[in-house]
Amino acid sequence: MSLSMATPAFLIERNLDRCIHCQVCVRQCANEAHGYDHEEQRVYSDDMRCVNCHRCVVLCPTRALSVRQFPLEFRANANWTAEVIHNIYLQAATGGILLTGMGNDRPYPIYWDHMLINASQVTNPSIDPLREPMELKTFLGRKPEKIVIENGRLKEALPPQLELELPVMFSAMSFGSISLNAMKSLALAAEAEGTYYNTGEGGLHKDLYPLGHRTIVQVASGRFGVHPDYLAAGAAIEIKIGQGAKPGIGGHLPGEKVGREVSETRMIPEGTDALSPAPHHDIYSIEDLRQLIYSLKEATNYSKPVSVKIAAVHNVAAIASGIARAGADIIAIDGYRGGTGATPLRTRDHVGIPIEFALAAVDSRLRDEGIRNQVSLVVAGSIRHSADIVKAVALGADAVYIGSAALIALGCHMCQKCYTGKCNWGIATQDPNLTKRLNPEIGAKRAANLLKAWKHEIKEMLGGMGINALESLRGNRLMLRGIGLTDRELNILGIKAAGE
């Protein structure tokens, strides 16, 4: 096919009054959207290649660059949008599945934004978190039905727990989907702020073993890098069943991303595709999950909590109940806005349910069944800021996982091109030219700063509610009111409408 229907998505604007032709943009664009014409001695741009990652814009020393939507339009059509048309062109040309990165970007309602948080006035006092104690410490893990004290001692020790200084963890992102430097950034930030990061299914790089106590090691369907040392190294083990950005499907890490380090960490040969099957081939039913949970507990002598991560799907409440009963100590639920390095576009945008509903349904179901205390609930899938966290905890979450927000802290500009492996910010790439753009010391600082800032904000909001310990917010849906929601939605969320 010689005729390509492709047209640029973005327009690079260069202010020639300011451009000094220093070529920083040329050097920084892995997509080669900028070039240098040696004959003319000037830089030029190729809009076609631009993915709008802003790397050139941010680094341009003279602020000569800007990027905007390419102004080419089709005849106005609310149904056949430009995006739909372009995707058909692409599929007609390639016969391939459309890929994308990061989370669902469709304009579905964001229920977080339809919930409002309470504050104290007059009748009960608000608290000033700057002066008074404010506790965010959170323990994740199975809690026994009751404790027995004999001779002043616990008869049975508390089952293994994860201890968090704030109810936020970095969600599973594998070494392979993200760079080692991104991984290190998160690990160091987790260490600094007293929380955890998650290996995803990419194995644990040797450099990160010293931070094993801040690591949740994942066991996913590809079992990459899973071996006894790996299991022993982590603070907890997470069985990944599903992921919000691609519920029900597996993942393919293309061979070109499996370089030496990824190969060593995943324990597969260099250059091979790392194929993660859609299911675990040893789990086709809930009792198989129990079998896997206990095989992991057995292999680690019952010393670590085992988490099970699933995507938020229609019958998530029933599934969560089953997971709790299968022996999981933590259930992580990833909503349909959850991010990823690569996912089929249609799956990302059309499969799953919002985390807000999933959380409300699961928490309610587990409470109905009297087993909420047996298991900790972690939610994920586009937690964007501290207010989302406060709302999540009020709906019933013990903690949240953040992925996209953490990556944005590291510099991600949401171009959604992670799957190309050309992340200009050195995050979602294994290209050594690009990975070194993320200095993990800086990354760790930024990620830790984000957690610090959110910690302060959560405390402020808690103080406003007159609460000085996070556990008093957990499941306290009285602290939420809905706005612009139908009765049915309010019912599912288990909250009253604003004004009620």
Binding site: I20, R27, P61, G426, K436, R437, I442
Partner: protein
């Protein structure tokens, strides 16, 4: 004191070169003017070496026993006894390139745009932080050893 590159974090953007040039130009605060107003683009004293994927900036190590100082035929090259910085008095320099011949780091550049002089890092004399360090977007350049430089020979 010297600026050291951490090559594992050098993004190869060469902003260090751009800002070094700017800060040694007549318009140290204005990159646009620095480049557009001078008859020649200012010369950077930082040199980014690159052979993908490796890249790093390299500038004068400010050796304590600086061979360039010893070898300088005019006495233009000297080590500031207070700051320890090795500097070139460009008005005394004749551009004989003996320093180029002896500097084991290859950290001295030939500036042939006007009067030939050896151009080298002066640690942005007087600045709190050299321009290259200040503008490195990734912390790949760090100021090290307030006390002295390397013994190069």
């Amino acid at each position: 004191m010297r600026v050291t590159a951490r090559e594992e974090y050098c993004a190869g953007c060469r902003l260090c070169e751009v800002y070094c040039a700017v800060s040694h130009s007549p318009y140290p605060a204005d990159p646009v003017k620095a480049f557009r107003k001078s008859p020649h683009p200012p010369i950077s004293r930082v040199l980014v070496e690159e052979q993908r994927p490796v890249s790093f900036a390299l500038q004068c190590r400010h050796c304590t026993e600086a061979i360039c100082v010893k070898a300088c035929i005019t006495g233009a090259m000297y080590r500031d006894p207070v700051t320890g910085a090795v500097r070139n008095q460009e008005e005394r320099c004749v551009g004989c390139w003996t320093c180029i011949l002896v500097c084991p780091f290859g950290a001295i550049r030939r500036d042939e745009q006007g009067k030939k002089v050896a151009a080298k890092c002066d640690l942005c004399a007087g600045a709190v932080e050299p321009a290259c360090v200040k503008h490195c977007p990734n912390g790949a350049l760090v100021v090290e050893g307030k006390g002295g430089g390397l013994k190069c020979m």
